[in-house]
């Protein structure tokens, strides 16, 4: 059975002039020549290792390697696995320092020889102390979070490459061990 729709006159009548409204991501300005619509510049993206992406109060990181191993969040590799989705790192405003800054760091736990054995943890943490003075724990900041009024305002990536790691012992009597990410 064939049904017939309403007959549309051609050319159609112009829609009645209505006051335009700005949609998402557009700027509407009224000037002597009428309305003008503009859009902000498109930011170029660059899918580098350890790229953070913010959603609400959680961060995800693109896949990246430390000494050819993928760090984890809550025991799941940051890029996700075949059985587990890409994990999120919960972030809290209370962690930020007085300047409203906190960091997400990759944390390594070397053994007594300074190596990262397969069973050692390499995980991402949210902290206000991005440097570790302990010889057992090394930290490298991956991104800085700038907080304003309890909300994350900016997430600034710090690392753009995969990383290698070495622990360097000081000369006798010269201080603590160093964790070198390079």
């Amino acid at each position: 059975m064939i049904t017939r729709g309403p007959i549309i006159p051609w050319p159609p009548k112009p829609a009645p002039a209505a006051k335009p409204m700005p949609g998402a991501g557009t700027l509407l300005a009224l000037g002597p020549g009428g309305y003008s619509v503009s859009a902000p510049d498109r930011g170029a993206t660059y899918p580098h290792p350890f790229k953070p992406s913010l959603s609400g109060l959680a961060l995800r990181f693109s896949r990246g390697l430390v000494e050819n191993r993928e760090p984890t969040i809550k025991g799941v590799r940051i890029g996700g696995t075949a059985t587990a989705a890409q994990p999120e790192l919960a972030i809290e405003a209370a962690v930020a320092n007085a300047a409203g800054e906190s960091w997400c760091c990759v944390e390594v736990h070397p053994d007594a020889q300074g190596e990262l054995p397969a069973e050692s943890k390499i995980e991402i943490v949210h902290t206000r102390t991005p440097r570790s003075l302990s010889p057992e724990v090394g930290r490298q900041a991956l991104c800085m979070i700038v907080w304003r009024e309890g909300n994350p305002w900016q997430v600034l990536p710090i690392v753009h490459f995969n990383l290698r790691y070495a622990r360097v012992l000081p000369p006798a009597g010269s201080g603590a061990a160093r964790h070198v990410f390079f």
């Binding site: 300005a29 009428g34 510049d41 498109r42 440097r131 600034l156 753009h160 290698r164 390079f182």
Partner: protein, 412 residues
């Protein structure tokens, strides 16, 4: 209805349609520097970069920010979109509340504004090219655009005195363009080595002992990791035999150079205004890690004998011995200062790569041979090389500060 920035407007029988005409922008790397002209003159803004985990600051005053009129103090009534408006309001609120990481409140007290708040960095330019000092050569990029080399007759002294009379007007082309430059660099405070050399009487007449004392000086009070502008000067060499030698208690690394290019036919000595065209040549493209060395105790013989010449050099053998001793003393003092220097190292963590630049493969084929494929490849590479030389910045992956393997010594 008009099409504004990044939009296109089409008329159709059913009305007008607005489309998104944005093109993917070039990725802005850390330390990307841009120059703008405001009511207070030219200023720069630097995209946040990091040294270790720290974002550098610009040490400024609220009055200076107001004068420069950058995005940091933009009139809020002009802000309409929600995204940029939130950022501007947060910036202005932080500034008015003295929301700097350190520093005093008030309009004239110094405040430290992190780069992520887009502070304006005032620029003071030096002349480069036909009315500039010969010590600043003209980059090829600008020579291709009509900037002439400085005349040989123009000395640095005459330039400082503002005397440009030595420039022969007959040698200046009518359509010349002038060039101004200002460097932007990173300032990293650190500990500094000091060396104090004293002479003591030796065990016998005519023999002296040289004693060199090494110690550490802390960073200047209140000095912080920050970005500065002006004319960058590399640190001078070590005078190890200076009686008192003090290292600078900071390390510095150029971020970028902002150039301003005039229109054709500008008068020598002109001050740059809003009609000049800005260009930026970057030196830094990636975030940095920074390491300072450990201060180590001296492991050699701490006493360096020094024997002054005897009897007008009557005994050649003795004189040679003395000269050798003197050279040894100089070299020892130099080694001592160099090996104990507290100068730090900047590097980009690139997963062990020594350099993040990927050099283009070079062809050894002749452009005049019979092999057509090789000729085409060589021509193409020659064009690519010319294109690279004609640019201010390299293409992605840019360049990175190399990692010094010496930082891995004494690894467990």
């Amino acid at each position: 209805m008009q099409a504004g920035r990044n939009t296109t407007l089409r008329e159709s029988p059913i009305g007008r349609s607005v489309s998104d005409a944005r093109t993917p922008a070039k990725w802005a790397h850390p330390w990307t520097t841009s120059a703008s002209y405001g009511p207070g003159g030219w200023f720069a803004q630097v995209k946040p970069g990091f040294v270790n985990h720290e974002c550098p600051v610009v040490r400024t005053t609220q009055r200076e920010q107001d004068r420069l009129g950058g995005g940091f103090r933009r009139d809020l009534s002009r802000v309409i979109t929600a995204t940029s408006g939130g950022a501007e309001i947060a910036r202005a609120a932080a500034l008015s509340a003295g929301g700097s990481r350190s520093g005093a409140r008030g309009s004239t007290g110094p405040i430290d504004i992190p780069l992520y708040m887009s502070p304006a960095l005032p620029l003071s330019f030096r002349a480069v090219g036909s009315d500039g000092s010969p010590q600043f050569p003209v980059p090829k990029f600008f020579a291709d655009r009509g900037v002439a080399e400085p005349p040989e007759a123009l000395t640095a002294e005459a330039l400082e005195a503002g005397d440009l009379s030595s420039i022969d007007p007959r040698n200046v082309p009518a359509n010349r363009r002038l060039l101004r430059a200002c460097d932007v660099w990173l300032h990293q405070p650190r500990l500094a080595l000091t060396s104090d050399i004293t002479l003591h009487d030796g065990p016998a007449t005519g023999i002296s002992n040289v004693r060199q004392t090494l110690s550490l000086r802390s960073a200047a009070p209140g000095d912080v990791l920050r970005v500065q502008s002006g004319t960058f000067r590399a640190l001078e060499g070590i005078d190890a035999l200076g009686r008192v030698y003090e290292e600078p208690n900071y390390d510095e690394l150029p971020i970028a150079t902002v150039y301003l290019l005039s229109g054709p036919g500008a008068e020598n000595g002109s001050e740059p205004d809003g009609t000049w065209q800005p260009f930026v040549r970057h030196n830094l493209f990636w975030n940095l890690n920074y390491q300072t060395p450990w201060f180590r105790q001296y492991g050699g013989d701490p006493t360096i004998p020094f024997l002054p010449p005897l009897a007008g050099g009557a005994a050649t053998l003795i004189t040679n011995f003395l000269v050798a001793s003197l050279n040894d003393a100089l070299q020892d003092a130099l080694n001592l200062v160099t090996s104990h220097s507290m100068a730090g190292t900047f590097y980009t963590p690139t997963c062990g790569g020594h350099h993040a630049a990927l050099p283009a493969a070079t062809s050894s084929a002749s452009t005049a041979g019979l092999d057509k494929t090789a000729r085409i490849a060589a021509d193409s590479q020659a064009k690519a090389r010319a294109r690279r030389e004609g640019r201010l910045d390299p293409d992605y992956p840019f360049l990175a500060e190399p990692f010094d393997p010496a930082l891995l010594t004494q690894t467990t």
